[in-house]
């Protein structure tokens, strides 16, 4: 009789042992299913939250690297006076040193932006210039009459953009273009102004704004931009600096190259942000990985998930992922321990059988194989039963964990409420997120491998105690 025939007979004829083992492996399998389903569910949840808000990445200058570059360039300038790589240093007559950087030093590099934009999976992209204060020539800005303007530049801010529809204030719903249209890559010398600015100056779509350098209001060249749209503020644009030049209503969106011309730096733009939209949110991680493989000087940049809320969701459901990992570790460990203990108990009762097999000349490895085969036969049935029960068990476990995570998230939101800029968007996302437990082929496969591993480890480990004994010791313990 071969090992398989003996295993089948043992399983079928020792029913109490078989049923008990079946129950234990069933419970272990069901929780392993739940653990793997939970991991799968958490990924779906992340994707769904991204689907709701869209996913984009944002490239911006790394502040630490900026300082590092400044130090390096300063070291390249002999006797301290001079220019290197957009970094300038000059000793004033008073003996003090003045240093500054120009756009070529500060800007994101266009060649780097284009390399990222060409990555598979990236749809559209947007470039945004730094806010550029300019002088309004043929119109008035919005101004707080009660505030001392002596320290203000008395100008308005230009924000150059390649595709205005991808601007983060548009994306976040802070402003809405209700009249005219937004800036597109084909536009030249155009602008989109605020409703307040239009009303104050009686401006409408088709009119032309005239602007020049704020430091030389009389002599600097005047540049004209056609008003193609008027935006309405919903939550307002958060000013980057104090003063009316930067207030939300005075921000004028223009085509990408317009600000540099008015500032007198034509050909030397100052790109502050680049935004890249992921075409298929399900490919988020893959696209992120591909972008990271692009050959550019990454030390110069910060690369962020542009949707702040998506980051939060990812973190929270990353917590769910961690919890499901914890479940898997706990179930695997406890499964090994429980099955080990059960087998150690049974092996005491099977010493007689092992002794007989040894006296018949069977190898110990063959006897362990039989024990393992018996467990795997029972394990197969238990696993199938667990597979049928898994939608219910996994659903329950995942539902509980998601509820738990949602509660944690709500508590965190409450704590950090004042720090969140866009409450409305956040709430929408939270409501949209749903959880479905899909017991797919991958979950079944991973659960099966886990059960197989748990049984193999448990049986092998528990058999060691008997198998290290000499045959005579085993036979002695029979009597």
């Amino acid at each position: 009789m071969n090992v398989f025939q003996l295993s089948i007979r043992s399983v079928l004829r020792k029913r109490t042992k078989t049923v008990l083992l079946l129950l234990i492996i069933f419970v272990v399998s069901a929780f392993l299913f739940a653990g793997w389903a939970c991991k799968s569910a958490s990924v779906q949840t992340q994707n769904e939250s991204r689907q709701a808000v869209g996913v984009s990445f944002r490239l911006e200058e790394n502040e630490a690297n900026r300082h590092e570059r400044m130090r390096e360039l300063a070291g390249q300038i002999e006797d301290g006076n001079g220019t290197a790589g957009g970094y300038h240093s000059q000793q004033l007559p008073s003996g003090e040193w003045m240093t500054w950087t120009d756009n070529s030093f500060e800007t994101l590099l266009m060649e780097d932006i284009l390399k990222i934009a060409e990555v598979d999976g990236i749809g559209e992209y947007n470039i945004t210039t730094a806010n550029t204060v300019v002088n309004p020539v043929n119109f008035e800005r919005i101004e707080d009459k009660d505030v001392d303007q002596s320290r203000d530049q008395l100008g308005v801010s230009l924000r150059g953009t390649l595709r205005m529809e991808l601007d983060f204030d548009i994306q976040r719903g802070n402003i809405v273009v209700k009249e005219g249209r937004m800036v597109t890559p084909e536009d030249k010398n155009v602008c989109v102004i605020s409703r307040e600015l239009a009303d104050l100056n009686g401006l409408k779509v088709g009119d032309t704004l005239e602007l020049n350098h704020w430091k030389d209001r009389e002599n600097s060249p005047v540049y004209k931009a056609e008003v193609i749209g008027i935006y309405t503020s919903v939550n307002g644009i958060t000013p980057i600096m104090y003063g009316d030049s930067y207030r939300s209503e005075n921000i004028i969106f223009t085509d990408l190259s317009f600000p540099e011309k008015v500032e007198g730096n034509e050909g030397s733009p100052l790109y502050q942000y680049a935004t890249f939209v992921v075409e298929d949110v399900d490919e988020y991680e893959a696209v992120r990985k591909k972008i990271r493989e692009v050959d550019i000087g990454w030390e110069r940049y910060d690369f962020l998930d542009n949707t702040g809320m998506s980051d939060t969701m990812t973190e929270n459901f990353g917590g769910l992922d961690k919890m499901s990992s914890l479940i898997l570790i706990l179930v695997c460990t406890s499964g090994v321990v429980i099955i080990c203990l059960v087998f150690l108990f049974w092996l005491k009762g099977r010493v007689h059988e092992i002794g007989v097999y040894i006296s018949l000349g069977r190898r110990k490895s063959s006897i362990v194989t039989q024990m393992l085969l018996e467990s795997l036969l029972v394990g197969c049935v238990a696993f199938l039963l667990a597979a049928f029960a898994s939608p219910v068990v996994s659903g329950g476990v995942v539902g509980y964990l998601v509820d738990y995570q949602t509660r944690i998230q709500a508590e965190e939101e409450q704590i950090n409420g004042d720090m969140v800029l866009n409450g409305s968007v956040e709430k929408d996302q939270t409501e949209i997120v749903g959880v479905t437990v899909d017991i797919g082929g991958d979950v079944v496969f991973l659960s099966g491998i886990s059960v197989l591993g748990v049984i193999t480890i448990a049986v092998t480990f528990s058999c060691i105690s008997v198998m290290v004994q000499r045959p005579r010791e085993i036979l002695s313990s029979m009597s």
């Binding site: 009789m1 003996l6 007979r9 043992s10 004829r13 020792k14 007689h352 059988e353 002794g355 007989v356 097999y357 040894i358 006296s359 018949l360 000349g361 069977r362 190898r363 000499r470 045959p471 005579r472 036979l475 029979m478 009597s479």
Partner: protein, 207 residues
Amino acid sequence: MLEIKDVTYYYKSQKDKVILNHISYSFEKGKMYAVLGASGSGKTTLLSLLAGLDVPVEGEICMDGENIIGKGLNAHRKENISLVFQNYNLIDYLTPVENVRLGGKEDPMGLLKAMGLDETQSRRNVMQLSGGQQQRVAIARALAGNAPVLLADEPTGNLDEDTANEIIAVFAELAHKQNKCVIVVTHSKELARQADVILTLGKGSFH
């Protein structure tokens, strides 16, 4: 055929208590040996060494002139040795037929019939048989492999007198008609009287 050469055995934890002390003997085919001795005299140890269940501290056990360690103890047990125990040692979840198959015979009905078990008895669970029937199954299993040496440890210890006599007769027949070397460790003087050679163990050596 089966030889013990200058064998010494003691437990490593009790080196001063020698169980077998430089004993030598040669067992031959066609004879039935009875090994007698008081409890603790080393009878079962001797049987374990002959069966390859343990190895001597000194000396060697040879089968047809070859040290059994050289061939491998598993192989020695499988090919040369049949073991019969006092408590039968049958596998409880197998039928008599299946138990005998473990010995290596695919169609064991003839063997079981020769041992006095009918078809019905041979197909039921082995634990439903009487003690004598179980011992017959154990002997049938021992014979199934057609090993030249049969080692029995108190084979009649759990049997009534009539059944014990039947089993002794079977052993004698195996030795004399089937030319096997039958070595029986026993306390039974009745069994010993049926043996061709009686060996008495005491103080670590044969008397």
